[in-house]
Each structure stands twice: as C-alpha cells, then as structure tokens.
Subunit: 296 residues, 3 copies
C-alpha cells in the first residue's frame, strides 16, 4: 500500500535523493516519533567510526535499539592498535559476520559511495559523515525540525553561517533545501566560503539561521585570524538576529562552541534540543526504510 | 502498598538520604538478589564516564541489563577527540535522545547535584563518583555487605584507613554509617587525614576495617614519603588485625593494590568479592527505585 | 541423547582437545549456521581484551548476541587509566558480578590455563589468543572452513607460511590438524621458523596454503631484512601457487597486509570471507557447548 517510493539500500548523500524520497523519510519519521517497536528485531547494525563522534554514534545506536536491532560499536578512532586493514576489508569482514547495515564516519570524502557501489544489495551503507562531502542524516533531521515549525521550507529564507567550505552539514542541507524550493544563503569568512554574501544582507528577513560549528583547528591553520574576530563578524547573537524575521529559527548541528559561533543566550533559545531529539527519530526512519523487509 | 518512602528522581549523595530511604534501598536490593527480570524494559541508561572506571561502569551496565534496560556507554575519558562540549550540553543532548538515567563519573565535586537541580523530573542523575565529593552507590553496597554479616551497624566500630582527605568513598560511607549509629573512625597519614587517630587505637576491638585504595600518584605528589612507609604504618596485615575483634570484617572498594594498603593474604580473606557481587544488586535496586513507574 | 562427549567448562587450547571433541564443535557449528536463537538468554559474556582486536572481539560479541546472551566489553588495551589490577582480580570481579564466560585476549602465554585452573566450574574461560601460545577458536574455524571444501583433512597437505615462531594461530592449527591426520608443513624465514622446509618443496601439490599475518614490528626488530624480501621469498602469489594443487585453498586469519604476505589478487580469491563468516558460527558453537545447561 504505502512504501511505493523507497527502493534504496544505501543512504550516502542527499544530492541524489528525490523530493518524494525526502518526504517518505519525513513521513516515516513522523510515524515513529515517540515509539519503540521491534520492527528490526534480528537485524544487526555496526557503527564503524573512523572519526570520533559520541553524539552521532549514540544517536544511531539508540535509533537502532528503539527498533530492537542489535548494535556493535567499532570505534576505530580510539582503538590504540589500528592494524592498518583497509576500510573495504573491514567492511567485508563485518558483512561476512552477518551485519545488515554499516553506519560509517570517515575522514575521506566519497568512501560511502564507493562502499555502496561495491556492496550493492549485500548490506546497507549509511553515511554518518564522510570528509567534506555529505552528512545526509543530519540534513534530514534538520529538515524535519524546520517542517515541525514552518510546515514548508519552500520560499523560506535559510541562512547557513560558518565554515561552508569544509562543512558536510552545509553541503547536505544545501542539496535538500534547494530541491524543496528554499532560498539558501551561505555566509562565512572569505577563507571559508566562496563568494560570501554580507551577513547583514543574508540575515535580513531570514526564516532560519543555521550556525555551523567552528572547528577550532581552523584558527591555528591560519584560516581565521582569531576567535574574537570570528565571533564579532560571524557569531550569531541577539543583535544580529534583529535583522531576521521576529520568529527566526536558530539551529546548530552540535556540539556547540558557546560564545564563538553562537552566544549562550541564543543557544538556549535555539532548536538544538529538538534537532537532537529528531535526530533519533529520523535515524529510526532511515534504518527502517533501508532494512525492513517488505512483505511480498 | 510498599513504596511509601522513596520519591527521589536522583541519587547524588548519601548526605541527604534519610534512614528510611537507606533501608528502602537495602530492602529492594535484598528482593532483587539473584534475580533477572524485565522491570526496566524500554528504559535507557547512559553511562557517562569522564574518568575511566571499567569496574563501576560494568557494574551499572550489568545491573541495568539484568533488569532489561538498554544501555549506552559514553567513555569520554578514552575518546581521543573530546570536542569540549560542556557536561550540561552533553547531558541535555542525551536527555533529548530519550535517555531515562545518566550514570555519571566526573572529576569535579558537585556536578551531579548541579545536573539534578537542572533536570528536576526530566531524567534521573546517578552519581557514580564526583571528584572528592561522594560515591553513594559504593557506600550503599558497603552497607548491604556489612548488614549481611552484622545484621546492624548501630554501635559497631568501623575503621576507615587511608587517604581520607581525597576519598569520596570515605565521605559517602561516613554519612551513611553515622546516620545508622555506627562509631566511625578515620585513620591515615597526617597529610591525607585531618586529625587522625593512631591506627592502633582505632583498630582495637574494631568490627569492620575498610581499606581505601592508595592512589599511586599521591607518592609523586609528595603526600606520602614512600610506598614502603605507607605499607608499614597503614597497610592492613594480619598482625595489625590482631588488635581488632576476632571476626573483624575487612573491606576494600577495589581495585586493590595488593601489598600496599592491604596484604595479599588479608585481601583473600576480605569481603571484596561480596562487595562486588552486592554492587550489582544494590545498583539494580537504585535503578528500580529511580526509574520504575509506580502504578497510580 | 547427543552431547555425550563435551564436558569442558573452558576452551583454553586445541592441544588438549580430543578428536571427538573437535568433531562435536564442528557438528554444533553446522547445526547453528545461519540461525539466531535464544539458546543463551540470561547468560552474560564478558570480552576482556588486553590486546586490541576489533575483529575477534566483534566476532565473539555477535556470536553471543545471535544466541541472545548479554555482552559486556572491557577493552583494557584502550582504557587510558589502567589501574594496575591483576588479571586474576579483574576476572574475580567479573565473576562476582555474575558473568558466565570470560573471553580473554592477553599478551602472556598461558594465562587462560591459569585462570581455568583457578575458576574450575565457577565460570567459563575462553582463550581468544594468549601471547605466543594458542588461539583455539581461530583454529577451529579454520578447520570448519577446510571441511566445508575438502570434507576431510586426513592425508591433506597443509602449508602454513610466515612467522611460525611467534604465531598462536599456527600453533593451534598444528595441534588440530595433526590430530586429524593432516600432513602439516611449516615454512618461514629461518629467524621466524625452526628448521624450515624450502617453500617450493612445501607448496608442491599442497591442498591448503595458510598465510600468516606478518607483524610489521618484526622488521624493525631485525627479524626480517625488509618487507620487499619477505614478499619475494614468502609472499603468496599466483606464480608460487602454481606449484600447489590446481584447486588449492588459500586461507588467512586476517587482518591481511595485502601486497606483503599475500598478493591482492590471491587475497580476493582466498577463503578469508568464509573464515570470517564461519568464525561467528564456530564461536556460537563454542559458547553453546560451554554454557548451555544440559537437561538433567
């Protein structure tokens, strides 16, 4: 009856998602909100994290457990003795052990697409952030959070502020939001954003302001002059927000540097908690769509 | 019918526990001894450890699993890339993900009380050791172990030996034991214990001797002259125990430095295994009391 | 009816296994292949790894979960603050917490036998690799994999190539294979193998070639002159395999150094994936035999 659109085995990007697929994730997520059900009992999900991210790993782990799947965590980033096996060999090893889905975070852009092409229907690859490429579940949870508040993003003015150049979060959001007819503005220091609009222009009458996390190592690498200057020109505070619509939504993918890219009072009024809550829900929807057998 | 006393959502200390509450934990623990039951099915417990403690983390993890709760482990101490998010933001993130209880170990005294005040009824905070403040589940399991052997601690002479000044175990035990009418003696080197009694006086006719673990870094920090001297003056051995009652109970919170604060033969005759076994039982009781919905 | 042979509580080596016991593991594994069943519901398995091995730990973890056992992981190798407790005290602590089996990897040869002698019937010790001594579950899964292809190993020529001297995998395989009547040949550089046969002689008409992983630190320790020389003389490639039987089976315990002990094309045609898949199955059989209560 339902499930007419979704046929994918992998979620590696938002770039290739159709509008129908995006809305199917939204609908599944809405149906799963607040529910725990053994829809994926007997399935095994492996969290294969080459970069440390307690937050994203825990979100996927809980999403899987709320659907009664088994979870194994492989924190390659923290294992002292990395034996230098290739990602492909490690993934094949997990496939041979009977794992149904690999949730992967890796520093190299594009590795999830390579694995998806390699494995085809043998298991599901879920991109939990690959280099500077994409972070699709983050963008889907961001969309879910915006839709809760705005009903639609079509025609809305959405400003993404920060290190656009290196941000997989910005890239995945940009793909989804433009597909859905939003007016996306990208703003940041000239070293971190190509051809940036002035922040004041972008913020004018904005519906949503999405702050990106500033990677602290950008400073030591010379890409920003100082945290103080970054905060002055790009940190989101109450005063800058006065340019936006009165009910402007402020979002942040977390973890936040309070007092750098966002002031603490703005953070407290932001949607960051709703994003985290919706993250679990949207990931439950992703796992269900990718893994649940369709009856016939 | 039962559950008339317990109304707390958090366990942050023993200082504020009433005698009735302490006995309710004891009664619940006794009822749960040796049992596995799905009393907390559907609940989620997060172990949030900023200091490494395989022993305490595993004890809480097993206690939760024996009651069919889901567990996620966040070993912040061992994660290579700590992104500098505040404890409060991390705790709020886990709350947003649907976690029902946070078991927290942290180096800062008082953080669990702060979190409990912040979260109120939104989730349960369980202190698994905060700085030099408290370690309430340890003191409750110590009490359970003593009651198994002595029926009551009222009027008993209980000697705690070691680094009293820095010990959250000593502090939590002291609160409970004095509430219950025990006669508690604190003994240690003058640099690690305020106004210490001579060990010989304390040990005379003692019912219980509780050895604290010597933190090895105390030596390099100049607080004790040498391990050999510590062992000679404060290490518990058979000869010193001759001053105590014939059936004196020897306890240790673990992990032990055999041959330092306790000789190996005394360790083998001590109650340390019973303490560990009772630790799981008492933590089951704590989780049940804090998390189980009361029927109406 | 069945279970007439197996009475062990521990699996510490293959040296002491009888032929009947080996075949009982094979039969159990065959019966469990592809199955998930709650045969060990309520049992608790602790993975106690003093050396890092994501692969073996995950294999045991999944084997346990496929049988509905609870699993706790203690990655001592990666915990930043190892408090110096002895292995015996740590094992006793886990026993007191109610753990039914300890899966142990440790750098010291013989520790699993010591623990088994100590614990007797109180819990099960499973050796997941102890120093240069044994790695019995690896040898049993290797046997299972050979039997799938060859039906029997009796009379088969099996060549093990590499660092024989330091290899617990070689040692455990040697015991099993010779018990079952195989003709085992051990080959490697003279610094890593006592009285080695020339590789060409060994490979002639071989039924199975098992490559061992080259520990990269052997080079810096002066035991091999260079990786290039090792590859030339002992690396298994198509050309060397022409000496063997046409359908020769190539095996590797993983993780592989592609281009060192095995060329990448030979690796792709090897049985390594089957070995990994069978690893989970054989470990399920081991856990079931050691832990399942027999009815009466």
């Amino acid at each position: 009856m339902k499930k007419t659109v979704w046929t994918r085995r992998h979620l590696v990007d938002t770039h290739s998602l159709t509008v129908e697929e995006i809305f199917e994730v939204m609908a599944e997520a809405k149906a799963l909100a607040g529910i725990k059900a053994p829809l994926l009992a007997g399935k095994v999900i492996a969290n294969l994290f080459y970069e440390n991210s307690t937050r994203t790993r825990t979100s996927f782990e809980l999403a899987a457990k709320y659907l009664s799947a088994d979870v194994v965590n492989l924190d390659i980033a923290t294992s002292s003795a990395q034996k230098g096996e290739s990602l492909l060999d490690t993934a094949e090893t997990l496939a041979a052990m009977g794992v149904d889905a690999l949730v992967i975070r890796h520093s190299s852009s594009g590795v999830c697409q390579q694995l998806a092409s390699h494995f085809k229907n043998r298991l599901s690859i879920i991109n939990a952030g690959d280099g500077m490429h994409e972070h699709p579940s983050q963008a889907l949870l961001d969309l879910y959070t915006m839709l809760e508040k705005l009903q639609t993003v079509a025609g809305k003015k959405i400003v993404i502020v920060g290190d656009i150049l290196h941000s997989r979060v910005a890239r995945s959001n940009l793909h989804i939001l433009t597909k859905l007819g939003a007016e996306v503005h990208l703003v940041g220091p000239p070293t971190l954003c190509i051809d940036p609009e002035p922040l004041e222009d972008a913020l004018e009458d904005a519906d949503v302001v999405m702050c990106l996390r500033l990677q602290m190592e950008r400073q030591t690498s010379g890409l920003i002059p100082s945290l103080a200057e970054y905060r002055e020109f790009y940190g989101i505070d109450r005063q800058k927000l006065e340019l936006a619509k009165p009910n402007v939504l402020v979002m942040h993918p977390g973890p936040m540097n309070r007092g750098v890219e966002i002031t603490s009072d703005v953070a407290d009024d932001s949607l960051i908690r709703q994003q985290v809550r919706n993250g679990v829900i949207v990931r439950m929807a992703i796992l269900k769509l990718l893994l649940q057998e369709t009856g016939g």
